[in-house]
Each structure stands twice: as C-alpha cells, then as structure tokens.
C-alpha cells in the first residue's frame, strides 16, 4: 500500500526559525527519510513554499455536479481555507509560470466540477523511487 503523509504546522512559527534552526530540523528529517529511501520505499518528497505564494481556484457547483464548463472558476489569492472540504489528492506539474499552472488547473476543473484546487509552488522536490 502506498501512503501519502501530509505535513501540517503553524507557518508563523516555521517562518520565524533561523536558518540554523531550520537546517537542524531538515538534517534530522533527512536521517529518517534516507533510511526509507535506501530500502527503495520512498516516493516523491516536496517542501512547499509559504502560503503567501498560494493561489486558489474555486470551481463552481460547490459539490453539486454541473455541466463541465458551465461557469468560469473563481481565482483568489492565498491558500485554500475552507474546513468543510477535505483533501482528496494532489498533482505535481512542471510549469513555466503561474498562468500555465492555472490553465492546467482550469482543465482539471472542467473535467471535474465542484470543490477547489490550491496551486502552491514547490520549494524543493525529490522525485524518489519506489521499488516495484
């Protein structure tokens, strides 16, 4: 079974850490992930940029099924902030800029109306490799 592990913490605290504090945490985390990587069990690992870089695309329909493309989605600045919807999955895509990422997201929204997507740049990414 593949598991996704999602990281949550208070950003005001993590962004207040000094570089040295941050490096220390990262080194401790690396010790954990390296072990999993050596046994071929570690998939992609990503560190996201702060939520100030996030953009949210809200699809219309709010859970109801609409005809694809019935209404244009609403794009707002900032992270996804609703608590009544749950995280269901994620994509990682390589884009030139935010506009290209938004276009891909709009296409996703056309295919599946309702809910929202948060578009957040990735600060660092390791593709990882999971043994077949």
């Amino acid at each position: 079974m593949l598991y996704a592990i999602l990281c949550y913490n208070d950003e005001t605290i993590t962004l207040s850490s000094t570089k040295a504090e941050d490096d220390m945490v990262m080194a401790r985390l690396a010790a954990v992930t390296d072990k999993a990587a050596q046994s071929g069990k570690l998939g992609p690992v990503a560190r996201l940029m702060p939520t100030t870089t996030a953009t949210t695309l809200r699809k219309h329909g709010h859970g109801k099924r609409l005809d694809p493309g019935a209404e244009p989605p609403l794009i707002t600045d900032g992270p996804f902030a609703e608590t009544k919807e749950q995280l269901l999955g994620f994509y990682v895509i390589d884009c030139e800029n935010l506009e290209e990422a938004l276009q891909f997201t709009r296409d996703l929204g056309q295919a599946d109306p309702g809910g929202a997507y948060e578009i957040r740049p990735i600060a660092s990414f390791r593709p990882g490799m999971i043994a077949a």
Partner: protein
Amino acid sequence: MNDLGWIDLAVRSARPRVMGALMRYFRDLDLAEEAFQEACLAALKNWPAQSPPHDPAAWLIFVGRNAAIDNVRRQSKQSPLPPEDELPDRQDTEGDLAQRLDDAHYRDDILRLLFICCHPELPATQQIALALRIVSGLTVQEIAHAFLVSEVAMEQRITRAKARVGGAHLPFESPDEAERSKRLSGVAAVIYLMFNEGYSATGGEALIRAALCEEAIRLARLLLRLFPAEPELMGLCALLLLQHARAKARLDGSGAIVLLDDQDRALWDRGLINEGLAMLDKAVRHHAAGAYQIQAAIAALHARATRAQDTDWRQIELLYATLERIQPSPVVALNRAVALSKVKGPGAALELIEPLADKLDGYFYFFGVKGALLMQLGRNADARIAFDRAITLARTPAEAAHIRLQIEQLMRAPADPPAATKAGPA
C-alpha cells in the same frame, strides 16, 4: 529543539498578533508591553510543565490581559493579589478565547500596531526602530547594534518615539477601506526602508545588519498573509526576497562592494529567488502595476539571467522608464541611464543624466555613474573629475574604495578605448 528554544520561537512568532490585541485593550504602548512581558514570564513558567498550548498567541493574549488588569488593581490596592495557580487552565483558556477573540479583528490589530509604530510624525529611523522594538520584539541592544549606535542612544531614541506617539492621535477606530489602504501603504514604505537600512550595509557591518533585512521580509510576509490580495504587497515581498537572495554575492571577502555584473551568481540563493518569482507571478495577474512590482520585475530580470551578459537590459530600461512615470525621481532616472548605457551605449546614457546634474549634485551614485560612462567614452580627464567628486561624497569606506579601484583603472589605461563597464548600484 529544547523547551526553552521552542518557547522562544513560539513567543517570537506570536508577538505581533499578541501585541496588536493588547494594544486594542489597553491603548497604550507601555501597558501593552508590560502585559506582554507578564504573559511571557507565565509562559516560561507554565509551558514546560504542561504540553504547549494549541494556540500560543491566544494563550498569551488572555494571560497578558488578565495580568495587566491585576497589576492595575494591585497598584490601586483595591483587590488582593491573585495566587499564581489561578492562572487559567489551558482547556478553559482556549475554549473561552474561541468565543472572545474575534479573529476578524486581528489583522486590523496587527496593521494598527504597525501603523502606530510607523506614525508619520516620527522620523523614518525612529519608525523603523519602534517597529523593531514593539512589533518584532528585538531588544534595544539588538536594534542599537543594527543601527550601529550605542545602546543608550537607541534607548533614548525609542523612548522619545514612544512619547511622541503616545501624545499623538492614535488610530483606534476601525478603518474603512480607504483608511486601511492608506495604513497599508504607510507600513509597506517603512518595511521597505527597514530592508534598505540593512541592505546598504557594507564591510563587517553587513552581517550584523542583515538582521534588518530578514526582519523586513518576515513583516512583509506577515502583512501579505493578512492581506493576501494586495498586488503591491506581493510586489514588495517579491522585491525584498529577490534582493536579499543576492546578499552573499554582494560583498567580497574583505567586505568590498561587488557590482551586479561581477557577482558570482552561484552564490545567489535560489530558494529566495524562486519564491520571489512566484510572488511576482501572482502580483502581475492583477494588472495593477505599482512601484514595488516594477522594482521587483527589474530584480527578477537580473535573477533570471544566468550570466551577467544574458541580462535583458532593454526590458529593464523600459521598466525603469515606467517607474519614472509612476514615481518621478532623479535616482530612478539615474538607474534608467545605467540600463540605457547597456542598450544604446554610454553616449545616450550620459545625455540622459546631464539634466540631472543640479538635482543630484550631492549624490554619490550620480558621480560614480557619470565617471564610469565618461570612462567608457574614453574621456578620461572628465571621468577623473567625476570620480574625485564621488569619493568626497562616499558615505562608507567601501563606496570610496570602489571608486578608487576605478581611478586605478583609469590610470592604467590613459585615454584609451573603453574599459569594462563599472556603473550603478550593486
């Protein structure tokens, strides 16, 4: 991280929100600061024994407010001193606070606190010092260090600033949209100045003063989190990140200035650059250009060039021309001239800056740039006059040393064809 380290970090990051709320209750900087100190002492005493509170800021606001109210009572001897163990227990505190603290208030709390520190009646250096003391919680010693003045002098400066702010009309009424946007742009301007204070440092001071840049970035991010749809805040944030990304490459081992063209771009911080570029991307979607966004766009063009010769100077020149229209200033024109010299040559740039001579008569960069352009044109005698004037106007030994280096170059190649371009701020 040990308990104390964690507590320090939690308190540091909660500070703007807690101080903002305490200011709303007490409407007095000294009272709010005292209340905050009390809350920190209580946190040091209570947090290690129990698990840390779920919302440290809410805990600190609650405890700080109660402690300050107790203090006032104690001083007026109207009620007996409450025993220490009556500090609210964690469950109650947080349950209570969920009701009591109106989260919608808190962004205006923080903005108000910043706006009070950035009171227009205060000189800029006092605004920055007060913001660092009150909002960021740097110690007087740390601030004195960053401003390269004695602790006593800084203490006086902050006391004077507080007194002046205390006597002024403070903005406690809830802001309407126009007032909010006025406050935002005032605060953004001070954050920008705070960054520049740190960024302009050279030599051994640079490392010390980098703290000002980091604090400015932290405040810019904080503001943007509170006001996520403001393109100029995104622009400011992007600008600071992109500039700060070059910090390691801006000075050589001896603390001398290394100009943009000569910097080792491998030393640029890619993480900060990528974040700055992502932020700028968000800003331009709003199609509401402003001075910070344009400056960020210029910094982005530099950041995107892998080598100095790949820089898109044509685009940079256009952006400076736009900036000059929005915010006419001889300094912007000077920067534009440097860009123009890369596109159309030193002659065109010299023509552009000649009319600025009166306005920039006391400005170091004007004569530095002028000298460099003249040198490129082979007008070495004129270049020497400009460089000599620049040296007398240099504000730091590093600036003077930089010009001396160019004079040496002049001497080595008398009246010969163009040497390498050495112009403009790093």
